[in-house]
Amino acid sequence: MIDSLILQQGSDWRAQAEVFDEIFFVFLALGTLVGTIVVAYTLWNVYKYRDDGSEPKEDFDAPEVGELPTGQGGPKAKKLFLSFGLSAIVVISLVVYAYGILLYVEDGPDANDDNIEITVEGYQYGWDYEYPNGHSETGEMIVPADTRIDITVTSRDVWHNFGSSELRIKSDAIPGDTNTNWFSVSSEEVQAQGGEATYTVECFELCGPGHSAMGGQITVIPEDEWEEWYEGTGNESNVEGAANVNGAAYGGVTA
C-alpha cells in the first residue's frame, strides 16, 4: 500500500480519477472490513447475552431505581481503551495515507510550458470557458490530450460547483472569488474513446430552479487537432460555438 504512495514515477503522472479510484478502494475495503467485524461482533454478543429466561448468573448485579451511578471506570474500561486505540490507529493511518495523496492532487503534475489555463465562469444555468487568447466558448470546453489543463473557476451570479464525475474534478464557483483546479487526459484514453473523449459537466451546488439541468461538457481531442482548432479561434469570442473545428459534433451540448 505504501508503494502506491509514490505517485510520480519519472515524468508520468496520474489523473485525478485514477488517484481517487485507488484511495476510494482502500477506504471501502477497510471500511467494509472494520464495519463487518464490529457489527458481527456486536450482533453475536447481543444474541449471546440475550435474556432467555434462565436464572441470572451469580455475578449479575441488577441495578435499582434511584441508585446513583457507581464504578465510573469499571473492569471493562481496559477493553474499551484497547478497542478505542485500535480504531484510532486505523482511522489515523487512513487519513495520513490520504493526506499524502491530497498533496499531490493539490499541486498536480509538474507544470511545464504546455499547460493551458482556462477560466471557467458559472452562471444561471451554464458554463462559460475563456481561453488564454481571449476566445470563449459556452457549454463545451475543448482541450488537448496529454496536456495539463489548469482551470480557474468563478461565478458571475450565485454559488455553483463545477464538476465532472468521470474526471473526478470538482471546484466551487463562488462569486467574487477564484478557485483553481487541474485535470489531464491521456492520448491513450482519447484513442480508446474513438479519437475524442467527452465528459459530462454538472453543477454540484443548488443554484436555482434550473440547477438540475445545468450541464456542460469537456471534450478532449488529440493535441495536433486541438492546435489547429485553437489557431482558428483568433481573438474573436465564439459564444455560439459555431466556429468549432467539428462544430456540428461539439456544438450541440444540451444544457
Binding site: F20, I23, F24, F27, G31, Y41, T42, N45, V46, Y49, R50, D51, K57, F60, A62, P63, E64, V65, G66, E67, P69, T70, Q72, G73, G74, K76, K79, L80, S83, F84, S87, V91, I92, V95, A98, I101, L102, V105, E106, D157, V158, W159, N161, S165, R168, K170, D172, I174, G176, D177, N179, E202, F204, E205, L206, G208, P209, H211, S212, A213
Partner: protein, 832 residues
C-alpha cells in the same frame, strides 16, 4: 397568576407552564412536523422515480428540498428530543420543574408559531428554494424573490429565538436544580447528553441567530451583505457552518442520551467506562466548534487551514469511537431484553456505525472533493441524523408508559421496528450505491435510476411504518394495559420512582440522594408551613439583611404555591409571529423615496396588510411583555440543590449570564462579519464612514449610564426610592441621549453625505450596510434596554424593588453588556 385547569380542558394547553405538559406539546408538534417533512420527502422521492419526467417544476422541487431539510432538522429532530428533555430532565435530576417555567412555555410557543410561519410561507408565492443550507447569494431576493422565502428565513429566526430561551432554561435548570446529593457526574446519561446539547446550542444557535438576522436585514431592509463580492458568499459559509456542524451533534446527542439509557435498562448493566463516556461527550461538544470548514473543503480556503480542519475532523471521530465501544461493551454479560425500545436503540447504534464509517471517508479531503454535493453526503448525514433519531423513537416507546400510564402494544412495536429498519436501509443505502448523482438534482444519469427507484419504494414503506406507531400509541392510550410505575426490570433513573403519569409537582416529598440513593425527605410541608417559612426565610428577606446568601431567601414564601399557568408566553409568541409575518412582506408593500432630507422622504404603501401586521405585532409584543413583567408568577428555586459549578449564583442571575453569553456570540458574529468582509475588500482600502466625534461622545454617554445603573442598585440596597428613581432616570436620559446622537449621526450620513444602507459614495456599498446593520443591532439593544428601564422606573415609583433589588441588578448586567459591546464597535466603525 391563574390556576391550572385540568388536562381535559383545552384552556390548560394554552396556559400551562408545567414541564411535563410542555414536553407533551413538543413531542406531538414535532411528530406533526415529521409528517409534514415526510410528505415533502415523498414528493422528492416521486420526482426521482424517473430521471426524465417530473411531477414538480424545478422551483417547486427546490422548495420541497429546502423545506424538507429545514423542517426535519429544525422543526422535527431537535424539538422531538427536547420534548423528552422537557418531560424527563427535571424528573431525572429531582427538580419540580425547569428553572423558568414561563420561559419554557415561551420557547414552545415560539417553536410552534415559527412552524406556522414556515407553513404560511408556502402560500406567500412559494417558500424558500435555496436549500436548507441557504447558500449566499442564492438566499437574497434577487435570486429567491418570493415573499415566502423571506417568511421562511424569519421563521428560522423566530425558531432560533425560542431555542435560545430554551437553552438558557435547560442550562440553568441542570446547573441549579439538581437534587441534594446528585453531583454533576452522577446525573443520568440522558440528562448529561441534554446538558452537553444545551451548551452547544447556546453558542451555535447564537451564530445562526446572527446570520439569520443579517440575512433578514438583507431581505427585509435591503442591506447587501450576501450579495457583496467582497467575501459575501464565504461569509455565509463560515457563519452557517460554524452553527451547522455543532448542529449535527445537537440533533444527535439527545438520541445518544436515549441510547445510553436504554442500553443500560434493557441489558441490566451499568454503562461501561461511564467517566470516559462523559469526558468524550464534553470533548465532542468543544471540538464541534473547531471543524466547521470541513464543509467547505472545495472553497478557496488554503491548504494549511484544510489540513488543520482535516486533523480536527479526525480528532472528533475518536471520542465517538469510544462512545460506540462503550455502548457495545455495556451489553456484554447483560440480560438483554429485546423490547421495542431496545430494538430501536440498538438499530440506531448499527445505523450510526455505518454513518460514522462513511463519515471517515468524507474526512479524507481527496475523497471529500469527489463526494461534495453528491448523494454520498446525503446518505451519510441521513444515517447519522435520522439513524440517531431512530433511538428517539425507541425513547418514545420507552417513556410512553410513564407519560400515559398505559403500556404500548409490544407486537405492533416490533413490527414497526422491523419495517422501519428494513425500509430505512432501502432508502439510504441505495443512496450510497447511486452516490454519483448530484444532490438536489432530479435530471440525473439514468444509470442510477434503479437505485433511486429502489429508494423511492423504501421511502413509502418507511413513511407507512410510522402509522403503525401512531396507531399503536392511539390504541394503547385508549385501551392499553395499565403500565404501573415501573414496567421495566432494570431501570435506574428517578422518573420510574414516581407514579405514571407523575403528579403535577413530581414528588411526594423532597427528593434527595444525600444517602447515596433516592429518598423522599419530609422537610417540606407545602400546606402546613406558612408559619415556619415566614419566620425563617421570609423574615430574613424583609429584614433586608445581606448576610443571608441563601438561594431561597429572596423569594417571599408565606402561603404561596408555585404557579403553573400563564397565558403571556402564548400571547408574546403570537405577537412575535404576527410581527414576523408582517415583516416577511414588508419590503414588497412599502417603498421609500429618499429625498433631500427626512421631511422630503416619501413612503408609498402598496399593500397595507403587511405593515399593519407589523404594527399590530409590535404593539402586542410590548403589551404582552409588560403584562408578563407584571404577572405575579411564583417559581422558587429549590432550597436544597446541587449547583456545581455555580454554587454562589442566584437562579435568575445565572440565567442572565447564560443569555448574555449567547448574545456575546451574536455580536461576535456581527463583528466577525464586519472584519471578514473588510479583510476581503482589502483592509486598508476602507476608512471610517463617519466622524469619530459623535461616536466618542456616545462612548462617554454609555459608560456614564453604566455608572448610574450601579448607583440605582446601591440606592435600592439602601431602600432609597428617590435615589433609585433619580439614578434610573439618569440612565434613561443618557440612553435617550445616546439614541439622539445616533439619530443625528444617521440623519447626517443619509441626507447630507449620501451614505445609505446599500449606497456608499466612498467605495464598497457593503461597508455602508455593515455600518448601519451593526450599529443598528446595538441600537435595538439600547432601545430594548430603555423599555425595560422605563418599566423598572414606573415600578420603582409604585414602590417595588426596595426589598428585592434583583430586577435592577439583572437589568444592570444587560445594560453593562450593551455598553461593553459599544466599546468594541466604536474603534471598528469610528476610528480605524
Amino acid at each position: 397568576m391563574s390556576e391550572l385547569p385540568p388536562t381535559t380542558s383545552v384552556k390548560r394547553w394554552f396556559v400551562t407552564t408545567n414541564h411535563k405538559d410542555i414536553g407533551i406539546l413538543y413531542t406531538i408538534t414535532a411528530l406533526f412536523f415529521l409528517l409534514f417533512g415526510g410528505v415533502l420527502a415523498l414528493l422528492i422521492r416521486l420526482q426521482l422515480w424517473d430521471p426524465t419526467s417530473q411531477i414538480l417544476s424545478g422551483l417547486a422541487y427546490n422548495e420541497a428540498v429546502t423545506a424538507h431539510g429545514l423542517i426535519m432538522v429544525f422543526w422535527f429532530l431537535s424539538p422531538f428530543g427536547f420534548g423528552f428533555a422537557n418531560y424527563f430532565v427535571p424528573l431525572q435530576i429531582g427538580a419540580d420543574d425547569l428553572a423558568f417555567p414561563r420561559l419554557n412555555a415561551l420557547s414552545y410557543w415560539m417553536y410552534l408559531f415559527s412552524g406556522v410561519l414556515l407553513g404560511i410561507s408556502f402560500f406567500q408565492g412559494g417558500t424558500l428554494d435555496a436549500g436548507w443550507t441557504m447558500y449566499a447569494p442564492l438566499n437574497i431576493p434577487m435570486y429567491t424573490p418570493s415573499i415566502g422565502s423571506t417568511g421562511a428565513v424569519l421563521a428560522v429566526a423566530v425558531f432560533t429565538i425560542g431555542i435560545t430561551a430554551s437553552t438558557v432554561n435547560f442550562l440553568t435548570s441542570i446547573h441549579h436544580s439538581r437534587a441534594e446529593g446528585m453531583g454533576i457526574m452522577d446525573m443520568p446519561m440522558f440528562t448529561w447528553s441534554i446538558l452537553a446539547t444545551a451548551w452547544m446550542m447556546l453558542f451555535a444557535f447564537a451564530a445562526l441567530l446572527a446570520v439569520g438576522l443579517i440575512l433578514a436585514s438583507d431581505r427585509v431592509l435591503g442591506s447587501v451583505y450576501f450579495s457583496a463580492t467582497e467575501g459575501g458568499s464565504l461569509l455565509w459559509g463560515h457563519l452557517f457552518w460554524f452553527f451547522g456542524h455543532p448542529e449535527v451533534y445537537i440533533v444527535f446527542f439527545p438520541a445518544l442520551g436515549v441510547m445510553l439509557e436504554l442500553f443500560q435498562t434493557f441489558s441490566g448493566r451499568r454503562l461501561v467506562g461511564r467517566k470516559w463516556v462523559i469526558i468524550s461527550i464534553c470533548l465532542i461538544s468543544v471540538q464541534s466548534f473547531l471543524v466547521w470548514m470541513h464543509h467547505m473543503f472545495l472553497t478557496t480556503i488554503n491548504l494549511e487551514i484544510k489540513t488543520l480542519m482535516m486533523a480536527t475532523t479526525i480528532g472528533i471521530s475518536l471520542p465517538f469511537d469510544l462512545l460506540v465501544f462503550s455502548l457495545i461493551y455495556t451489553l456484554m454479560k447483560g440480560r438483554i431484553q429485546f423490547t421495542t425500545p431496545f430494538l430501536f436503540a440498538f438499530g440506531a447504534l448499527l445505523l450510526f456505525i455505518l454513518g460514522g464509517i462513511t463519515g471517515v471517508f468524507l474526512g479524507a479531503i481527496v475523497l471529500d472533493y469527489e463526494f461534495r454535493g453528491t448523494y454520498w453526503v446525503v446518505a451519510h448525514f441521513h444515517y447519522v441524523m435520522f439513524g440517531g433519531a431512530t433511538a428517539l423513537f425507541g425513547g418514545a416507546y420507552y417513556w410512553f408508559p410513564k407519560v400515559t400510564g398505559k403500556m404500548y402494544d409490544e407486537l405492533l412495536g416490533k413490527i414497526h421496528f422491523v419495517i422501519f429498519f428494513i425500509s430505512f436501509n432501502m432508502v439510504y443505502f441505495s443512496m450510497f450505491l447511486g452516490w454519483e448523482t448530484p444532490r438536489r438534482v432530479f435530471e440525473y444519469n439514468p444509470e442510477f435510476q434503479i437505485f433511486h427507484q429502489f429508494g423511492t419504494i423504501g421511502a413509502f414503506i418507511l413513511g407507512f411504518s410510522f402509522f403503525i406507531m401512531f396507531y399503536n400509541f392511539a390504541k394503547s392510550y385508549v385501551s392499553g394495559e395499565p403500565a404501573g410505575d415501573n414496567p421495566w426490570d432494570y431501570s435506574r433513573t428517578a422518573e420510574w420512582a414516581v407514579s405514571s403519569p407523575p403528579p403535577l409537582e413530581n414528588w411526594p416529598n423532597r427528593p434527595s440522594y444525600a444517602s447515596g440513593k433516592l429518598e423522599f425527605v419530609k422537610d417540606y410541608v407545602p400546606d402546613g408551613g406558612p408559619a415556619v417559612k415566614a419566620d425563617g426565610d421570609g423574615n430574613a428577606a424583609t429584614d433586608g439583611g445581606d448576610t443571608h446568601e441563601d438561594h431561597i431567601s429572596k423569594y417571599p414564601h408565606w402561603d404561596k404555591h408555585p404557579s403553573h399557568a400563564s397565558i403571556w408566553p402564548f400571547a408574546l409568541s403570537l405577537a412575535l409571529g404576527v410581527m414576523m409575518l408582517g415583516l416577511s412582506g414588508f419590503s414588497e408593500s412599502l417603498s421609500f423615496a429618499v429625498g433631500e432630507s427626512l421631511a422630503a422622504t416619501t413612503m408609498t404603501v402598496s399593500n397595507p396588510v403587511y405593515p399593519i401586521l407589523v404594527v399590530v405585532g409590535l404593539v402586542g409584543l410590548v403589551w404582552s411583555g409588560v403584562k408578563w413583567g407584571l404577572e405575579d408568577f411564583y417559581a422558587p428555586p429549590s432550597e436544597f440543590a446541587e449547583r456545581w459549578p455555580f454554587e454562589g449564583v442566584e437562579k435568575v442571575k445565572l440565567g442572565m449570564w447564560f443569555f448574555l453569553a449567547s448574545d456575546v456570540i451574536v455580536f461576535g458574529a456581527f463583528l466577525s462579519a464586519a472584519i471578514f468582509v473588510r479583510y476581503n475588500a482589502g483592509w486598508m482600502t476602507w476608512e471610517p464612514l463617519t466622524e469619530s466625534l459623535p461616536g466618542l461622545i456616545n462612548t462617554f454617554v454609555l459608560i456614564t449610564s453604566s455608572f448610574t445603573v450601579i448607583l440605582a442598585l446601591v440606592f435600592a440596597h439602601r431602600k432609597s426610592r428617590q435615589g433609585v428613581l433619580a439614578s434610573l432616570g439618569a440612565t434613561i436620559a443618557l440612553g435617550f441621549t445616546f439614541l439622539a446622537i445616533k439619530m443625528w449621526e444617521w440623519h447626517h450620513e443619509i441626507f447630507e453625505v449620501g451614505v445609505r444602507l446599500a449606497q456608499n459614495p466612498y467605495g464598497d456599498p457593503v461597508q455602508a450596510s455593515i455600518y448601519y446593520v451593526t450599529t443598528g443591532l446595538h441600537g435595538i439593544h439600547v432601545v430594548i434596554g430603555l423599555v425595560i428601564a422605563i418599566f423598572l422606573f414606573v415600578r420603582t415609583y409604585q414602590g417595588h424593588y426596595l426589598n428585592d433589588e434583583r430586577p435592577i441588578e439583572y437589568f444592570g448586567l444587560y445594560w453593562h453588556f450593551v455598553d461593553i459591546v459599544w466599546v468594541f464597535i466604536f474603534p471598528l466603525f469610528y476610528l480605524f
